[in-house]
């Protein structure tokens, strides 16, 4: 099992540096073509005048619920998507299954909590950058409580006993709340789906995190990421099981799902908790 883990760790860390280079390319692209990041005119999501009061409701003829799926690099993205899918089928999932067989779910949850606890700094900063002071305070409070009473973040007494809920935030979302559009959809190897904006955000989040400077990048940081990845995959395996049975076109389903979810994370925050 440990050998498998190590193999997986190695295989993910080396090419991830390539992914990082590609990310830089993407950021350069974003910087040179910043116009594509700004909200574009004539987006299909804008409601016709006179219907402003019913923004929560949709009309099938206008298909207002649909997000703008700007995907000029579709051919490249589809290739990468297929690559990632195979990676999941033949590498990530088998490793995660092995992990699941050895590690009790309770421990998986504890590890998941601890990994999450580690990346507190970008979350606090992004909450603050989005003027979500309450969220920034909660994340900070959670970190203090869970790192101490929660034994280094293995447990989550902040949620369980004090009802201090998470407030996830990332820099792609921050850019979105500042008015940046998503830009083109982007799929890169070894990574979740992205848009140019969210990819740039991912990079900034990485730079915001003090851990990135304290821990040696390749051996430790990427091992942590890989470990977290395997652990999360193991936890969600039941949920993802047979999901493909209900999906007709995985590429467009994932793209639409990602874009819709990000859209909500950016624009639907004012709703009551």
């Amino acid at each position: 099992m440990n050998d498998a883990m190590m193999a997986r760790t190695r295989s993910i860390s080396a090419p991830s540096s390539i992914a990082l280079v590609m990310m830089c390319v993407a950021i350069a692209l974003a910087a040179s073509g910043c116009a594509s990041l700004l909200p574009r005119g004539g987006r299909p999501t804008s409601a016709p005048p006179g219907n402003g009061s019913s923004s929560v409701l949709t009309d099938m003829t206008r298909e207002k619920a649909d997000v703008d799926e700007h995907d000029p690099w579709q051919r490249f993205n589809e290739t990468m998507f297929e690559f990632n899918r195979r990676l999941d089928t033949y590498a990530l999932r088998p490793v995660a299954k092995g992990w699941k067989a050895v590690v009790p779910e309770r421990v998986e949850l504890m590890l998941s909590n601890a990994f999450d606890n580690l990346t507190v700094v970008p979350r606090v900063l992004n909450n603050a950058l989005q003027a979500k002071w309450d969220g920034a305070g909660r994340e900070l409070g959670r970190f203090v409580i869970n790192s101490t009473a929660g034994v280094g973040g293995l447990f989550d007494p902040a949620t369980a006993y004090l009802n201090v809920a998470k407030s996830p935030a990332d820099f792609g979302q921050t850019l979105g709340t500042w008015g940046a559009g998503p830009g083109p959809y982007l799929v890169l190897p070894f990574m979740d789906p992205l848009t140019v904006r969210d990819g740039a955000g991912r990079f900034v989040d990485f730079a915001m995190d003090p851990l990135s400077y304290v821990l040696p990048l390749v051996p430790v940081r990427f091992s942590l990421m890989a470990g977290s990845r395997v652990n999360e995959r193991a936890l969600s395996d039941d949920l993802l099981q047979d999901l493909e049975d209900s999906v007709l076109d995985p590429y467009s389903a994932v793209r639409n799902g990602y874009l819709q979810r990000r859209e909500r994370m950016i624009h639907d925050q004012e709703e009551p908790r």
Binding site: G50, N51, S53, S54, V56, L57, T58, D59, M60, T61, R62, E63, A65, D66, V67, E69, L109, S112, N113, D116, D156, T159, A160, A165, K166, L235, D238, L239, D242, L243, D245, S246, V247, L248, D249, S252, A253, R255, N256, G257, Q260, R261, E263, R264, M265, D268, E271, P272, R273
Partner: protein, 260 residues
Amino acid sequence: MTTVFTVLGAWLTLSVVFSLGFARFVMSADASGHAPRAVGAASSQRAARPTHFRGSRMTVARPSVFLALLTVMPLIVARPASAATPMEALRGEIDRVIKTVDDPELKKEGRAGERRAAVRKIAGEIFDVNETAKRSLGRHWQARTPAEREEFARLFAGLLERAYLSKIELYQGEKITYAGQTVDGDQAVVRTRIITKQGAEIPVDYRMFKRDARWQVYDVLIEGVSLIGNYRTQFNKVIQSSSYEELVKKIKAKQEGSGT
């Protein structure tokens, strides 16, 4: 109790309507405009429907009796149900599902099929899969014949069942909280949250509409991802790159592939 009355009332009303030869009228109304529209459109539609009724009724031998039946019946029977807000209606059904899934009797070996059937039955009462199918197919729905629509709705229901019914069985006491509702005429959005074992809150919103004084769900948004929106993208892509027939073939293949 109220559901019994509503079902009974709906059945009676339906049988009267059908026996009068209104079947065709009902079908065409169903296909063209029963769906919830934007608020502006909805009110004009409501105004338009009775005129239709009046026109058809002329052909009936004793209109007064049926007129009385048609107008009074829904008033008597449906009132208890319509008094419930969409959130109450939804919560009642979700509570029933949780009770069924949590039932220690049904958790016993060999009763999984029975349990799933019970959940399916409740889901069928609160969900309007026809509406979901229609909206997911979007503009392509218009080009379909009634038979094709019927077939498509049936296949689509099977697809959804495989995706979500099996997931309900993973339920392990996760908490569901009800965050609020927005009601606008005969349309509503009910916002809920599922609190996972990791303590993460997953927002799940239900889009509902009122049909025959009953609130029914036609779309579910998980973390803001609309089921209808997601399927519409997929359906569009398959239809655009091949054809509607290919889409049907694909859905059928999924059904056979999973062996249900």
